[in-house]
């Protein structure tokens, strides 16, 4: 199953005879490492929820402070939207490849699945990231316009510029994600060309 022996001074020989540290791991170390990996995932998810929770606490405070029903609804919807985004980020954002699957699929298929997952995440950014934040934002703005805080001069102008800027940021985020998704699609197409047109099924374990 291997090529004939490489010449003593060929690149294969240089590669195979390199000095190594000879790192070995005992079964206990391996189990510890596997548990550490699981904990890392749990902590990463927890950090995202804590950050969202901090923002929601702030919204909750504002919700309690304001007397206007529409503004209150805005803060409530914004909190719900944010929670949804964080939940989706945890669900879609990280790779779900299990080690046993890594042995079942080839490098190409594994790489392709990962690129596809990232592409879909970027392509659907309206559905899970930008979209859920809009209802809260709109209702909040309506509430602000209704209550029209007296301390702001030229409220109408400031309000319009502020919202135009927010809309610009939303469109910009969407465009950047679309561009990144197209780039990933090109990489997927390159991989498909390497596969030689055959659709691969997971190989036996």
């Amino acid at each position: 199953m291997t090529n004939e022996s490489p010449p003593n001074n060929g690149p294969q020989s240089i590669w195979q005879s390199q000095k190594l540290e000879g790192i070995r791991m005992s079964a206990d170390e391996i189990r510890l490492r596997a548990r550490k990996f699981q904990r890392k995932i749990l902590w990463r998810n927890a950090r995202e929820y804590v950050a969202a929770f901090a923002v929601i606490v702030f919204f909750g405070f504002e919700f309690w402070r304001t007397t206007d029903t529409v503004t209150r609804a805005g803060f409530g919807l914004s909190s719900a939207g944010l929670l949804y985004v964080v939940w989706q980020l945890g669900r879609r954002g990280s790779s779900r490849n299990l080690p046993a699957e890594m042995g079942l699929v080839s490098g190409l298929e594994f790489h392709r699945r990962e690129l596809e997952r990232q592409r879909d995440l970027l392509q659907s950014v309206w559905r899970w990231y930008l979209g859920p934040l809009i209802p809260g934002w709109v209702v909040l703005m309506v509430g602000m316009a209704r209550t029209n805080p007296g301390h702001l001069r030229h409220f109408g102008l400031t309000f319009t510029i502020f919202n135009l800027f927010a809309a610009f940021v939303f469109v910009l985020v969407w465009k950047i994600n679309q561009r990144a998704a197209r780039k990933l699609q090109r990489q997927i197409d390159e991989l498909d060309a390497l596969r030689g047109g055959e659709l691969e099924r997971p190989h036996g374990g």
């Binding site: 199953m1 291997t2 090529n3 490489p6 010449p7 001074n9 060929g10 690149p11 294969q12 240089i14 590669w15 195979q16 005879s17 390199q18 190594l20 540290e21 000879g22 790192i23 070995r24 791991m25 079964a27 170390e29 391996i30 189990r31 490492r33 596997a34 990996f37 790779s95 490849n97 299990l98 080690p99 046993a100 699957e101 890594m102 042995g103 079942l104 699929v105 080839s106 490098g107 190409l108 298929e109 594994f110 790489h111 990962e114 390159e190 991989l191 390497l194 596969r195 030689g196 047109g197 055959e198 691969e200 190989h203 036996g204 374990g205």
Partner: protein
Amino acid sequence: MRAQTPTQDDLYQEAAETYGTALERLARAFEADPEERRDLLQDIHAALWRSFAGFKGRCSLRTWVYRVAHNVASSHVIRRRRTNSVALVGLEELESMTGESTVVLEADRQHALERLMALIQRLKPLERQVILSYLEGLDAASIGEITGISQANVATRIHRIKRILARRFQEEEHDDE
């Protein structure tokens, strides 16, 4: 009497003994930083151990080990690319790059190894898998099974790899000509 089915620990032990050095070389090719490399190697070992819970023996142990190791290492490269601005290239682009001097392999093996490592680390993950498998001495059929690249494409890639290596790494007998 039926032979006893190897346990997850038995399979891991066998894999670590047989392919331990190849896995260490693989980790070197995917990560230049010594600390990160150690981490990556441990991740590969942990993934291997966990993977053997689902190993049914329908492909060879070697194919399984290389697939898991390559896939863990490729994920590592993809994750690192988000913070690393160095652009990775394909074999075609690497072949068309000029300006690097040729290393005489026998004259300075350590320097040659460093150059070889630098060359591998510039490649995209899948191309890296092919060149590594070639350097480990695997044949085209095995490389195809591990990487999922069609036989014809593997053959073309190996041919290209040989051309790149021949241009950049001169073997001693060429000196005498």
